[in-house]
């Protein structure tokens, strides 16, 4: 193993971790408010195609990312309208959102197959970003730094702000929050819109940064990994960051296995890619089991997660 290989590996891992980090952060906030949105994959695809299309027309990747956030938030609000206003089942509606987002993105994407879009410049001076060693720190897309900034902001928001406290309270006991006089539905709409925007940006990272072109279902199930990541991180933002990079390593191993494989024991057969593809979910189950063996409260799951809010009027 040489330095070039290691640097390339780190850059790849940070890159492929970023979409699940963004989408996971969004879903973390949504779940902290007591809503389970299984439509992350769909919102990511909506973000991916919207970001791409808007980038094609505007010629500006920043506008594209903003558009992806907006489109993701809109698809989230659609979900919110069903589960909050019409009180439909969250699991069923979330699954429907994924199906809807997959179909809608494919439909819009038809006319964008094969188009090339302008790309982000580097955030730091090119000497730093292209330096063979320093690019490990300075050589990423602006979205990567944005994701890291969001980890800090979300952690601070949930822990230290009054709005964050109210959001947690709503997810912990919606009826109590309502009886104290907080707007449960309003808080949840805001959380869902934020979750949608973050998933949209995560999706746009695929179509604007990883492979700057459009392909159907290009998020390749990462929305589901983001959902597992939230549970893996036991609803804590700093752990989500660690988990995202850990899952990133697993996804990197999967990519390598697909490309011919890494063999850990010389001469032995390479571990098939499907093994690595399953690992994030396996690890989530393992972590859940470990935490609940030690202390149930440590699971830290919002008490109202997935339950409909039915106040007495």
């Amino acid at each position: 193993m040489n330095w070039d290989f290691l640097i390339l590996a780190i850059i790849t891992i940070v890159g492929i971790s970023t979409p699940i980090l963004l989408a996971g952060l969004g879903e973390l906030v949504v779940e902290k408010s007591g809503i389970l949105n299984l439509g992350v994959e769909g919102m990511m695809l909506v973000g991916a195609i919207s970001g791409f299309a808007i980038n094609v027309y505007s010629g500006n990747p920043w506008v594209g990312v903003a558009g992806a956030a907006g489109a993701g938030a809109l698809s989230g609000l659609l979900f919110g309208f069903f589960v909050l206003t019409l009180r439909s089942n969250q699991v069923a509606t979330g699954l429907a959102l994924t199906i809807f987002g997959t179909g809608l993105s494919s439909l819009i994407g038809l006319s964008f197959v094969g188009r090339i879009v302008p790309q982000f410049g580097s955030v730091f001076p090119p000497e730093l970003a292209r330096d063979p060693v320093l690019k490990v720190v300075f050589g990423y897309s602006p979205i990567v730094y944005f994701a890291l900034l969001m980890v800090v902001l979300v952690a601070w928001f949930l822990k230290s702000t009054r709005s964050g406290l109210i959001l947690r309270a709503v997810g912990e006991n919606d009826l109590s929050a309502h009886s104290i006089g907080y707007n449960v539905i309003g808080v949840r709409y805001a959380a869902i819109a934020f979750g949608g925007a973050m998933a949209g940006i995560g999706g746009a990272y695929f179509s604007l940064v990883i492979t700057p072109m459009w392909a159907e279902r290009m998020t390749a199930g990462r929305g589901w990994i983001a959902l597992a990541l939230v549970v893996f991180a036991s609803w804590k933002a700093p752990r989500l960051l660690a988990g995202a990079y850990f899952f990133g390593i697993l996804m990197w191993l999967e990519l390598n296995a697909k490309a011919g494989g890494l063999s850990f024991i010389p001469g032995a057969q390479a571990i098939p890619s499907q093994f690595w593809a399953a690992m994030p979910y396996v690890m989530t189950v393992v972590v859940l089991t470990l935490i609940s063996m030690r202390n149930r409260a440590g699971l830290n799951a919002p008490a109202c997660l997935g339950k409909p809010f039915l106040p007495a009027t």
Binding site: R162, R168, I180, G181, Y182
Partner: protein, 518 residues
């Protein structure tokens, strides 16, 4: 009494209608500054609806609310708190996974930095002698401590009217005394208190005025100190109160239920383990088990009903036969019936008809199943019998269990078990959330069943209920059962100490104080 001053709160002609029910019908009364005013009524009399309108959770359909003489509209709880109205709910609006401090911060409308809030919390706690650690997580606190959070939260707003919704239903007698001290101190400082309860002796001990509601209407406003408990109860219920008629002298028979050194591991993380529980219930005896919620009552009911079977077959015997390892179904076949605390979802399935609900527990004893098929006719006939003999207000055997009121469903469930003539009946919280009329009927049914020779165990948090109903009484605390006492000779003070966790009479003085402060 200065009549010059406008009352702090005056309601006139308040009316609130829900689909099918007139919850409040033209209710008018007023509360003076510094007055402790009781709002008395049965479940469903409209007390909660009325205070929800005062606190801004609901809006009245008609009538006006005056505050210091000014007509106001309380748009929401936030507006109520701005006026100086605080409320302590019966079901605490607390967030289990958060700390005391976070919980209190959530109840404050003003943005106060954490440290400043903590120091004002400590100040309030000191002023009123309320002990609480602001950094504890709520899920680790006792019910009494949780109530203190709500009280501190309300007091931090310097309320001029404090609404207390059934605050003592979950407290030990000592905790009730402490609460009363706080409330009296508040009243002397000029805060008005609206105290909702149906416990008459508490109202007589605490309140200056009592407003009695029945079926949404105001029946009377009186001075509870000059009324008798009986006269207030009759106004509350609207008819002469029936005393439980117990046969004057009853000879108790042989031991029917013997529990011998029963121990069970805790179920789940918040469960309580049972430790070495022994007691005997004879034919015709009603054995009461008192205790504050969460001290193993649930585990004991599950162990007796057979939902959790014991490893020791001899730990529980019915008429001499060991049943400790038997399942609930096998125990039912041997005449051991049980009624759990939770009506909806444990004792009955709310989405099943009453008839189907009888099949759940009566199928074997009454032959409602043959060759694996349900005999719906037999179930329906039996359900009809239960409805008729227990005066259950229901359309008929085909009514959904969930459509019945709490009291009626409880009467139905008790009737379902009692008409099977069990030799041993175990009931938990038989009159929880049940109105006084239904409670009296349920108590009478228990007494009659005992008179017919059954052995009965009543697990309840309502000490008054146990004292009036039972022959023998023991207290459960942290999974241990105290010695059994004859109710006729029982000392309420000692029972209170046992409920608070002091075992035996020779408890030392500091330990007693700790228990009282606890």
């Amino acid at each position: 009494m200065d009549t010059e001053l406008a009352p702090r709160l005056a309601l006139s002609g308040i009316t609130k209608r829900f689909p099918g029910v007139l919850a409040n019908d033209n209710v008018s009364f007023s509360v003076r500054p510094g007055e402790i005013h009781a709002l008395l009524g049965e479940n469903g009399a409209g007390k909660s609806t009325l205070v929800k309108m005062i606190y801004g959770i609901m809006q009245p359909d008609a009538g006006e609310i005056r505050w210091d003489g000014q007509v106001i509209r309380v748009a929401n709880p936030k507006a109520a708190r701005r006026l100086g109205i605080g409320m302590v709910f019966q079901h605490f609006s607390l967030f289990e996974a958060m700390t005391v401090l976070e919980n209190i911060a959530l109840g404050m409308d003003a943005r106060i930095p954490g440290r400043e809030l903590e120091s004002s919390i400590r100040q309030v706690m000191e002023q009123y002698g309320l002990k609480l650690d602001p950094h504890r997580t709520v899920s680790t606190l006792s019910v009494g401590e949780r109530q203190r959070i709500e009280i501190v939260r309300a007091l931090l707003l310097n309320p001029r009217l404090l609404i207390m919704d059934e605050p003592t239903s979950v407290l030990t007698p000592q905790e009730v005394e402490q609460l009363f001290v706080v409330l009296r101190q508040l009243a002397t400082e000029g805060c008005s208190i609206l105290y909702i309860s149906h416990k008459l002796h508490e109202i007589k001990a605490l309140c200056d005025t009592a407003t009695i509601l029945r079926g949404g209407r105001l029946v009377d406003t009186c001075d509870p100190r000059t009324e008798t408990s009986r006269s207030m109860a009759e106004k509350m219920i609207g008819a002469g109160l029936k005393e439980i008629s117990k046969p004057a002298s009853r000879a108790l028979g042989d031991a029917r239920l013997v529990v011998n050194r029963l121990s069970m591991a805790a179920i789940g993380h918040f469960g309580t383990a049972l430790k070495d529980i022994s007691f005997t219930v004879r034919a015709g005896e009603i054995f009461g088990i008192a205790g504050v919620a969460g001290n193993g009552q649930n585990a004991l009911l599950l162990a007796l009903s057979g939902e959790e079977s014991s490893e020791d077959s001899e730990a529980i015997t019915v008429d001499g036969a060991p049943v400790g390892q038997l399942s609930a179904k096998q125990r039912r076949l041997r005449g051991m019936a049980s009624v759990p605390e939770e009506r909806n979802g444990h004792a009955a399935v709310p989405d099943f008809t009453l008839s189907d609900n009888t099949i759940l527990t009566a199928r074997d004893r009454l032959g409602m199943v043959s060759a694996g098929l349900i005999r719906t006719g037999a179930a329906s006939t039996y359900a009809g019998e239960v409805i008729a003999s227990f005066a259950v207000k229901a359309q008929g055997p085909a009514s959904m269990a969930g459509s019945l009121s709490g009291g009626n469903l409880q009467k139905y469930i008790m009737g379902r078990e009692i008409l099977q003539k069990p030799s041993v009946l175990v009931v938990s919280q038989p009159t929880w959330g049940v109105d006084a009329g239904a409670a009296a009927a349920i108590h009478q049914a228990i007494v009659d069943l005992a008179a017919a020779g059954s052995a009965i165990v009543v697990i309840s948090q309502d000490l008054d209920e146990l004292l009036s109903l039972c022959d023998t009484l023991a207290v459960i605390n942290e999974g241990r059962l105290s010695r059994a006492m004859q109710v006729a000779e029982a000392d309420v003070h000692e029972i209170g100490l046992l409920m608070g966790g002091i075992h035996g009479e020779q408890a030392s003085a500091p330990a007693r104080e700790a228990a009282i402060a606890g």
